[in-house]
């Protein structure tokens, strides 16, 4: 008889929500590969140079082993935090749960399979990070084959302890609270946690590798007790043995540590299976019911709520409500508009005080310089193009309809009006990004208020044009056949295509740099060029786009 846990794991992976490019065309595949080819080396370069820098600091004092310990600790911490999100969505919020429960499977087998699926996700999340610590240390210390072999096995077993802890924590919470009632809220919080973790790691690495002196780092390491390193070493005890095995891979004590590491990891895995057997079923029962507090409808409820609105206004409001209330849309289409402006300002605000003062002086001086106004306006337009392209609202607007697209076909509202409302939904959100950025620039960098106002008056044009281009792209290449909202947005190549299309408005803007010393000319040309582009795209949308919308059938 085949092992049911492994069989189930395979099925779950096949049915999984990976980056499925099977149905996409060659261009889509190439674009995704190019994106990865650019993004991954950038991350690798950042972390790689951080490790090399640490080696330079620690090697002279004979403490380079700390790097492995640190690599494993950070990895475990990342696995744990992402694990909380992955586990709650895989164990509890995944739609397969209700199909699995009636099958003749033991709870331990379901937990085991789901645990392995999450482990696989974790490999993908942390592989690059681990690889850099592992290989850089190995190369710089000239370690032998055994070091690499130990490293590989340690990496494969590394997620077990943090994931076991996260599993137990989540299972206990789900058993004793009614968190499932707030499924959507939990998903949003989880998603935001992931985003913030990403920014956090990025900022720490940046700060370490660019702003701290050797003495500062040593002092930080000496302080020890409360550091993340110590904390995660004590929470995940296997790290100690893993690090020892890798650092002393050449002798017997390393081998012994390696065996202890493997033994302990397997024990922990068995403990999770037992715990799952015991608690999972009880915690998952009733998950498929979405809780809702029933409200007593008052006598004047209809008078208050049943009020006529305009067609486009109601359509737009409904689009926005669905964007805000669907967690995956909220994170990818709504919150991103509020986070990006902060992302861009944060590294500048987080600089160390001495450099910050110098830099701030430079920036505020530049902002106040009337000569630079044209250049600032160009910068604002580039930012608006960027924000418009990053925003997935319109480039997934048709895709998000999925199986419900037919509703938009039978309601008696012209396709012109429907597409206009869809463009507006992206535009409203993109505009929020511009308003926040201008507000921050005025507040933090002392951007003159009148320049800020001028940006608000004109820089909506690129937001509008990128929203229209996004919708046009999605009309011609909609991804309507999906079974989870995630696939409609996160795995939608149209978002990438719209970023590529952003080259046009970005090019239009950058072409005006030569005249940027003349503020009035820059402002007039920018507005005219982007206004024209907007008008052209809108005409395309209302003719070609409408025709295409009419043709769409699902």
């Amino acid at each position: 008889m085949k092992n049911k846990t492994l069989l189930l794991t395979k099925t779950l992976i096949r049915n999984g929500e990976g980056l499925n490019l099977k149905g996409s065309n060659t261009f889509a595949k190439i674009s995704v590969l190019v994106a990865f080819a650019v993004v991954i080396p950038m991350i690798m370069f950042g972390i790689g140079s951080f490790v090399v820098f640490l080696m330079g600091v620690l090697r002279p004092i004979g403490q380079e082993g700390l790097i492995i310990s640190m690599g494993l600790s950070l990895n475990s911490a990342i696995i744990f935090i992402f694990g909380l999100i992955y586990i709650i969505s895989t164990y509890y919020f995944s739609s397969d749960v209700e199909y699995l429960l009636p099958l003749p499977l033991k709870p331990g087998q379901i937990v085991g399979a789901k645990f392995l699926v999450v482990t696989l996700y974790e490999y993908m999340t942390t592989a690059v990070f681990f690889l850099l610590f592992w290989v850089t240390y190995g190369v710089m210390t000239g370690s032998g084959v055994l070091y690499y072999l130990y490293g590989l096995i340690i990496f494969l077993l590394l997620p077990i302890t943090p994931l076991a802890l996260a599993s137990v924590l989540i299972m206990v919470i789900m058993r004793f609270t009614n968190l499932s009632r707030y499924k959507d809220t939990v998903k949003v919080i989880g998603g935001l946690l992931g985003v913030f973790l990403g920014i956090g790691v990025n900022l720490i690495v940046q700060r370490f590798s660019t702003n701290m002196s050797q003495e500062e780092i040593l002092a930080l390491l000496r302080k020890g007790e409360n550091s993340l390193l110590e904390l995660s070493n004590s929470i995940f005890p296997t790290i100690k043995w893993g690090a020892k095995a890798m650092v002393s891979s050449g002798d017997w004590s390393g081998f012994l540590s390696f065996l202890i590491y493997i033994g302990f990891s397997l024990l922990v895995f068995l403990a999770v299976l037992l715990m799952g057997e015991w608690i999972y079923l009880r915690s998952v029962m009733g998950m498929s019911e979405t809780g809702s507090r029933r409200h007593k409808t008052g006598s004047n409820y209809l008078e208050k709520e049943a009020v006529r609105g305009s067609v486009v206004g109601t359509y737009l409001k409904t689009e926005l409500k669905l964007l805000i209330r669907t967690p995956i849309y909220f994170i990818n289409c709504v919150i991103i508009n509020f986070l990006w402006p902060i992302f861009l300002f944060l590294p500048m605000i987080m600089q160390n005080p001495a450099e910050k003062t110098d830099m701030m002086k430079g920036i505020t001086g530049f902002m106040a310089d009337p000569e630079a106004s044209g250049f600032i306006l160009i910068g604002a337009f580039i930012f608006a193009v960027f924000m418009g392209c990053m925003n997935a609202t319109t480039s997934t607007s048709i895709s998000r309809e999925g199986g419900e697209l037919f509703i938009k076909k039978y309601i008696p509202v012209s396709y012109q009006k429907q597409l206009t409302a869809k463009v507006l939904s992206g535009f409203v959100l993109g505009l929020a990004a511009i308003i926040i950025a201008v507000f921050l620039a005025v507040l933090v960098f002392k951007l003159p208020v009148w320049t800020g106002l001028l940006i608000l008056l004109t820089a909506w044009l690129p937001i509008m044009s990128t929203c229209i281009s996004g919708l046009l792209i999605d009309l011609y290449n909609p991804k309507l056949d999906w079974d989870s909202e995630q696939k409609a947005v996160k795995q939608n190549v149209n978002v990438l295509y719209n970023m590529i299309a952003g080259v046009v408005p970005a090019g239009l803007t950058l072409a005006l740099i030569p005249v940027s010393s003349n503020f009035v000319l820059t402002a007039v040309l920018l507005t005219a060029a982007h206004g024209l582009l907007c008008a052209l795209l809108m005409k395309c949308l209302l003719s070609l786009g409408v025709r295409q919308f009419r043709k769409l059938e699902n």
Partner: protein, 242 residues
């Protein structure tokens, strides 16, 4: 009144979903559209409601052509699709307001209609809740309410009885009768023969896109041997084509 003249629809895989369909459904009639799974019932409904475009032929609703006056035609129709799982993240009331705005229903009229429909279906107390929290039957009811909020002259329903409890099912049949008695048209698809027999003034049977029979229940009975059960007739009709 619904008129279909020589309507054809072929899907991309060259399957003829609707093959030269001709139908006239006058006002004041409940018309049942019968056929096995995959017969072309839903495709026909999608053609009448403007969700799909016909390859050829003409479809008119109250004298208006769906091709030429699509918005006017759509306004004449209240449509209940076969799946009620839509707009799950909206509250019941938000959904009804959305539909009422799309169909240009005035504030007074919508208040009156929503109040009446909610009372009939026992939905008054759940209008503030998200549709996601509704049972299948409640979702079906809110969709029916959305379809009737503009008091449409033509009411089209795709497999409407699925998931309804006996009381709501009875209520729906009553409402269909009322609608037809007010000289409006009711067109619905079903494969539950019993429902068709009890409710319909006339029925049509379709299989593989072709109309096999159209007439009153009596005519249908005459058409076949008098004492045969409707179910047997239905099987005979559909099997003879295979």
């Amino acid at each position: 009144m619904i008129e279909l003249t020589n309507v054809y629809k072929t899907y991309a895989n060259s399957v003829k979903a609707v093959d030269n369909l001709n139908l006239i459904i006058p006002d004041g009639e409940i018309f049942g559209f019968l056929g096995p799974n995959g017969a072309g019932k839903t495709t026909t409904i999608k053609l009448i409601t403007g969700i799909l475009n016909a390859d050829s032929g003409s479809i008119k609703v109250n004298g208006l052509d769906i091709e030429k006056d699509s918005l006017k035609v759509k306004k004449q129709i209240g449509f209940v699709p076969d799946t009620p799982n839509m707009f799950l993240r909206l509250k019941g009331m938000e959904y009804l307001n959305f539909m009422a705005d799309m169909y240009d229903v005035s504030t007074e009229e919508r208040r009156e209609r929503i109040d009446d429909l909610a009372r009939r279906f026992g939905m008054t107390d759940v209008l503030q809740d998200r549709i996601q929290s509704y049972s299948h039957g409640m979702r079906q009811k809110i969709v029916i309410m959305g379809a009737l909020v503009h008091n449409p002259p033509v009411w089209i329903l795709d497999e409407p009885m699925t998931g309804l409890d006996p009381r709501s099912s009875f209520q729906l049949k009553e409402m269909m009768r009322e609608h037809a008695d007010n000289n409006k048209t009711v067109f619905f698809s079903t494969h539950v023969l019993d429902v068709a027999e009890k409710v319909c003034d006339r029925v049509a049977i379709i299989n593989k896109g072709k109309l096999l029979f159209c007439g009153s229940m009596e005519e249908m009975k005459d058409h076949f041997k008098k004492n045969a059960s409707l179910e047997k007739m239905f099987l005979e009709l559909t099997e003879s084509e295979e």
